[in-house]
Amino acid sequence: MPDSPIRFLQGNEVLADAALYAGLKFFAGYPITPSTETAERLSYLLPRVGGKFIQMEDELSSMCAIIGASLTGLKAMTATSGPGFSLMQEAIGYAVMAEIPCVIADVQRGGPSTGLPTRVSQGDVMQARWGTHGDHSIITLTASNHQDMFTMTVEAFNLAETFRTPVILLFDEVLAHMREKVTIPEKDEIPIVDRLVTSVPRGTDYHPYFPREDGRLPMSDFGGSHRYNVTGLFHDMWGFPTDKPDVVNELMHHLVNKIENRVSIIQRYKEYHIDDAETLLISYGSAARSARHIMEDRRKVGMNIGMLELQTLWPFPRQLVQEKTKNAKYIVVVEMNMGQIENEVRASVNHSDSVYLANRVDGQLITPTDIKNFLRIIHGRGI
């Protein structure tokens, strides 16, 4: 329906369309269930808008290729699922170290290992944070419906450019495969952060790793006026390797702090009925749909229940969670893993005894009824 901004799409397709909206010009990937449809759609759309699509020989090379392309000034993305995400970890660390903006979408399926390729899970949350070796920080966003998927995808590109860092989009099989309505925002309705290009003129010394006053590091495209070096080793502000302890120390802290010190501007979330919530559900991704379903259902019968939906998973918004949970008697984390976010919530709240986990790890979307039953038990009313 080209005349209307309304679309009825698969989540993977929404991801593709949102990436294009955000300015995607380069996609490299390798097929894997349940994420392949993103690549399929982009293989069609990208050449039609002058972008580039390439199917690489594996996920390792896909991740490498988007880093290379990003250095030429193109907004670049890859999409995969657990096994492929594991394979990308070394190169993700490279993007962290070399401060290359790019976006990696991981559509979660059942793990570990090949696990349950066509079933839902939220088991890669901790891996998104810690999958690559060495200290680092990373931004990870998620969403629970197609409209938010669209927004978060655009945000991911924006944050990647703002902080010169890889950003992970952590979606899941239910979101990725289901179709629902999404309204494509008008041009400029969601602001787009473009590549910050250095204003240093040709012939003048350009420092690729010397932050401006506002903390941002302007870039210069490969093939442009400035020749510099990019490396995965610790490096100085020109990008040349060094192991001088003070330079190493500074870079390490820069890489971590550029993100960890900006939690409040990176955090995205939604809240429902927090004020009077004695029972507070904390959820994200497709699990948050069931959580919201049961919250609305229970409020109808008079339960003082509210919900905090996290859209930024990393850096974990500890302070936000602490504030929002202040008055809750029961803090129930609804997720489809063994408690990966629950663990963070527990570390964030003042009274960790009131934190409960309502989860499901059998490849099935947690249902509103599941949560209802958890609540009965938590509230001491049996099943």
Binding site: F26, R48, I54, I66, I67, G68, A91, T231
Partner: protein
Amino acid sequence: MSSMTQYLRTRFMPHIWCPGCGHGIVLSGLLRAIDALGLEKNDIVIVSGIGCSSRLQGYVDFHTMHTLHGRALAFATGVKFGRPELKIIVPMGDGDALAIGGNHFIHAARRNIDLTAIVMNNNIYGMTGGQFSPMTDTGKKATTAPDGTIDRPFDTVSIATAAGATFIARTTTYHVHQMIQILKKAIVHRGFSVVEILSQCPTYYGRKNNAGSAVDMMNWFKDNTYKLGTKTAEEAGEMKALGIFIEKDEPEYCDRYKTIIQKVGSP
């Protein structure tokens, strides 16, 4: 000091390579080829992996990228496909190119994407201290083959041919004039070019295998190679042929994609 210093980041010189390391000769030859071609510094990107050979990238005043062990061609593919007008040169070690990086090597060749892969083949992992590589001849010693390797070596030329590279050549650090000529052609060639350069690692390969000094090793290159086409297989025996094995015109990957964009793109 040399006129090539215009291309060097001299503040990092002298370079990290051991005395007599062949990689320095490759660097020198590469710069001379680039100089002879009169290319613009800003049009050249060097993408390397990890290894002694991959340190080449740090010394040259082009756009330079030092990536991950074995993955240089994958990064380079992104750079090239992203900006096809640039000349991308990828110096690699034999381990980098054909051990951990073997898959990217054959796939870059298959695509015929316009990259110039220089395999600086010293038959050993230099950077990590002398373990055998997929180019170490059977029976040779290395720190992980104290009783001699049982592995058989690859032949770079055969692999590149089978995988579809459209320019394939071999030379050595002894044959510097040939090296420069070959590198010039390889860089100009539109498509995936592979230049294998036999290079000496006196420090590890040489020592472990009693191959003598850098000079001895270069003399060995002289004595154990011949010009492609001048000997029959029988005459050649264990000797290696040098020269250009393949040079053919086939559609390049980015060019092919351009035709797709032209067909379907709405400009």
